[in-house]
Assembly symmetry: D2
């Protein structure tokens, strides 16, 4: 209750339901004077739109962004910006039965417990991955601002099921990696493995099953000294926001879980001088020490679970009769949401960092053009 809002200075509030009238986001705290590039926002939205390829749900949605407030003469005004996309796919009759049959690893049960059976259950309502379209719209605005300050968030698919791409982000061939990712249906940085990942998705789709994966992300050019110790830590702020994305079950920074089996002499990143500036020899810290940015790229990795909605027959419970039973779900579900989640992860990171930079007074509240 009362907690659909993220951020302090750049504050986003999510609203809408999967099969309601709209998906929306209210954005409060955007600096005034930003050229409001609606095409860029649409371009970002298109990256997570359903039906982009045969690998995704066939749900038909145009996802055209509409502006309700906050823009005047094509610029931000400093007032709250309300953006919506209208839902078009309304055939929700198939969902009526989930009031009764609890889908495995789905929200039917917890939703009843929390909302007393009053929640909109069509297409999972508020729990739908469709909600993240709002994150992408807000994230696009955050990116427009961050990019003016040469800060970029960049995410890509590391693995789909058993196919893992060992390619690391690298400053040197960044432009090339962006291009490869743009061409990859699964948002991979490796053209060959991209095909294998696509095959992996198709194979689970054919089995009416689903598959998980992992996404890596880097944030470039955050200056040193951002964040803080204790509850102000960048890891705390990032993870709190990232876990708003449905299906994420783990997050790690820098060397991540590998640190458990590392020695200090191995993990420590020696400070060096590079081009006359302080830098580190390697970046096992993921660009964050003591909760504060080091000036090195912020690196993190998230795990995304396989879509809970699968067509295969599954054991479950009928909530009305309180008897165990079986269920087969119809409908167009993504066999793997990893490719569509890549832009969502990027967006959330852009939102978190813009908020933090505004809080710390590093970005002015009126922008020069």
């Amino acid at each position: 209750m009362g907690d659909n809002t993220l951020g302090t200075r750049f504050k986003i509030s999510s609203f809408g339901e999967s099969h309601g009238k709209v998906i929306g986001v209210l954005i409060d705290g955007t600096p005034a004077g930003l050229n409001f590039d609606l095409e860029f926002i649409q371009h970002e939205l298109d990256k997570r739109k359903p039906g982009q390829s045969h690998l995704a749900t066939a749900r038909k949605e145009s996802d055209k962004v509409e502006v309700l407030s906050g823009i005047f003469k094509d610029k931000t005004t400093g007032a709250p910006i309300c953006l919506i996309i209208k839902n078009q796919s309304f055939d929700s009759t198939k969902y009526d039965k989930f009031k009764e049959f609890l889908r495995p690893s789905h929200v039917d049960y917890v939703s009843i417990k929390k909302y007393g059976g009053f929640a909109d259950y069509r297409g999972s309502g508020r729990f739908s991955g469709r909600i993240t379209a709002g994150f992408v719209m807000a994230g696009a605005i955050a990116k427009l601002i961050l990019n003016k300050f040469n800060i970029f968030t960049f995410a890509y698919t590391e693995s789909i099921g058993k196919i893992t791409d060992p390619t690391e982000y690298s400053e040197d061939n960044f432009e090339q990696l962006v291009k490869i990712r743009e061409k990859s249906l699964v948002k991979s940085l490796n053209a060959k493995l991209s095909i294998k990942m696509e095959n992996e998705i198709e194979s689970v789709k054919n089995l009416k099953d689903s598959v998980g994966g992992s996404i890596k992300c880097v944030v470039k050019n955050i200056p040193p000294g951002i964040g803080g110790p204790v509850f102000n830590s960048l890891e705390a702020k990032i993870s709190r926001a990232i876990f708003a994305i449905p299906a994420i079950k783990g997050i790690e920074f820098g060397a991540g879980f590998k640190v458990a089996n590392m020695k200090g002499s191995e993990h420590n990143d020696p400070w060096i001088i590079k081009n006359g500036e302080i830098s580190t020899l390697k970046n096992d810290s993921g660009g964050i020490i003591g909760g504060i940015s080091t000036g090195m790229p912020i690196t993190l990795r998230v795990a995304i679970k396989p879509t809970a909605s699968i067509g295969m027959r599954q054991k479950t419970v009928n909530f009305r009769t309180m008897k165990e039973t079986e269920i087969e779900l119809e409908g167009d579900h993504d066999p793997c949401i990893v490719p569509r989640a890549v832009v969502v992860v990027e967006s959330i990171l852009a939102i978190v960092f813009l908020d933090q930079l505004l809080i710390e007074g590093k970005i002015p509240s009126v922008l020069e053009n």
Copy 2:
């Protein structure tokens, strides 16, 4: 800045520095009428106290808790509770040089960037693991309340370096596992592997090196329906708090990063009827679906990096001369902080869940005794 506070209804604010006068915590929102069990709080504090064994730093601190406010006639009043421990170990002369020599993976550099060189650098000041004594004091109060409602947080060491204990928490032999953990110097659930873990720590200590590890945690008896979608997700709230503990570089819930290589048919937890109640056949979801508790145990795992402070010679930079150099750190440092972090993880979880249960009106603001 301004962000040393966690929580909404049960709000804790951390203060103090490693080598300042005190380490403290201000706790706002404790229900009135709780029997204030000072001995229990001290007992919890003793679990993270330095110098408990030869495996930990030899720093001498009695860590005796003192109450400054909020308690009247041995009960909570509903007013803010201020608790402190006084620092006794004040030999901080050895820290003066870190104004100049940047310790690898240490906060010297980021602290200068953030606080302009004015931060208290003695023993890492606000960045010290010693700050977590405040979390333990607040967590102890949270535990006292949660326990009245039969809710428990339980953490234990899963691995130290390459030694990993496969023991899973189990409802059936919980009491026994608690006892094993109490006897283990490293807070392990396996008496044999505990010895191996101790040896692992001793061996890195002898090399003037350090080692990381991992901690597992379970929260028992959270009722179904707690938390929410989007930014209210339990994973979001837990991770935001957990990353306030220095040295944690990763967190995962339920099956965690393993989900990346799982099929939906494999990962989904079928709903079942158990003793006439809704339950799940397994718990790969970690007790959380759609950000909301399922009624199953909440399970999570965190990775702890090796202590950055090591005695071995390391490469680094002299910040004054801006030249690369080498450094050897003196002083008593924990070769592995995992054993002392176990109670800290438990405490943070107790704080997060008490806050959430109060927000959702599941725990009254005046307690019956």
Copy 3:
């Protein structure tokens, strides 16, 4: 920036501009299961609609409420509710000159200073009293819930210019007072003085001038024990919300400013037994002692300044030339906003008290019907 939101558990976020596409409000934290009475919301909105009588601005707006999210099967779901009204009056050409001529006691200057000239200046944009339509929509939902618990907020016009109505709210003839107010064009509790107040407004209107006034408000049936000392005080929470209404320049509780010239023996409200319950002989405390409700009616009074937009010739400055000059404003402005502000004050109070009662666990998050 980032501060168009009020409340913790029942959280409202305001958006939209006077001459933008919509005026809207996003409401987060409404309990699930409430019958969503759209007609009631519309009825409330109609009370502040422009053009209700010859005493108000002639701006033509139908102010029809539209629901974008949060309602399913005519009930609240617990999800965020987004409500909008579309603006219809778009002739904003007359506002272009205020980029240059600073209207006296108007926001032209401060807006330029804050938003660098990027703010939407048409009809005062975000500063317009039209924004309060959002407060009324959210307040209507709050009222629907509070009324289920027999709690009511009731406001009325005390004075318009020099015409003051000494009638006090009274429990005994409450129903009758409501009826008189409904018939009064100026929302007065006194039919005769209502005519005088109308005349007062007409006379300033004819002079192309405007006039201020005062509103009294009472909140009935708040149970004792709500609120708290220090920053949790009801006076603090109420005043913080009330001053979001443009044009309010003062607020007082109970005996208000009269306390400055009172003795303790005179001001103190003796406790008495009434119908077997604790009560007070009189209510100079305005139902609040130590920031906490006493169980007596909460009473307060606010002062509303005369509309800054007047047709009379006024001295001012040309911001471009930085020379002093004169200005005559065209357009339909309310000669007195007091009558239309009455429902806004009621709405804000309903929002504040619902939020507080939810925070304190006095209203459940799922409503029985």
Copy 4:
């Protein structure tokens, strides 16, 4: 519950009780690098100390400030600053009876309703005016910072009972007014009326009664453009903080309640050019238009009720027997708290404005010296 905190970037948390161990304040968000002038803080505290003259309570307290955290080498570090004063007057036996006899206009009843009888009732516990010592300590730090930017808060007694001083704050003889106030036992700007006010207080003291009064305050040199519309309004932020001071029952800005009987042509402040800068001919707006500072002095006025604790016989209720009865209070109570409240009002205003200026990026988080 959980709401003893004020502010966002400069955040103060109040703790302690009237007859507990300490009165304290935790201050989070102070910029680093400020010379920590302990003498100034003590000097400010001394202005509200009990027992300053025969006009105040005779309670003996030295109110010596102690620093627990956040200061290093006599400068702020950016870490939370914890300040306490120790309570010395512990004779609290006289308060035991108020568990039973409800003092008129006192918190006994509401406290029982809220805290179930567990609150510390000695000397009103958390509700005591003594809590405001924490506001003064935090306010002193805020003043030290604001003064570096030439911003000042200045409050003074306008009236005590029926004695009202018409003197207005004036830029021209500001230094002189400060001096007069310093010499006045009642913090008046008029030496003659000061004597009359003292007499007024003495006369009610002799009658075992108390008396109220009013305080005026001005904030100098706030730049134009600070604050915002809707919930960000300066009036909203100021009033929310001011009402944390016990005994305040009303607040007004600029012309205040007088606006109710003003015409627009009378109330509007014409813009003028003064020394080549935008200014206003008069300041009925109190330096705030549309919730935003105009650059003119911020002016406000608050009403303070007579002390509820009086020695005269009063009617009341025995809560145990639920019978009406009479009560005579012993003890040293301030017959008028207005003089001691002057510095508290100033302090709260300093806190609010420093917070707002930090939020808006107008004051850096590391100060140059």
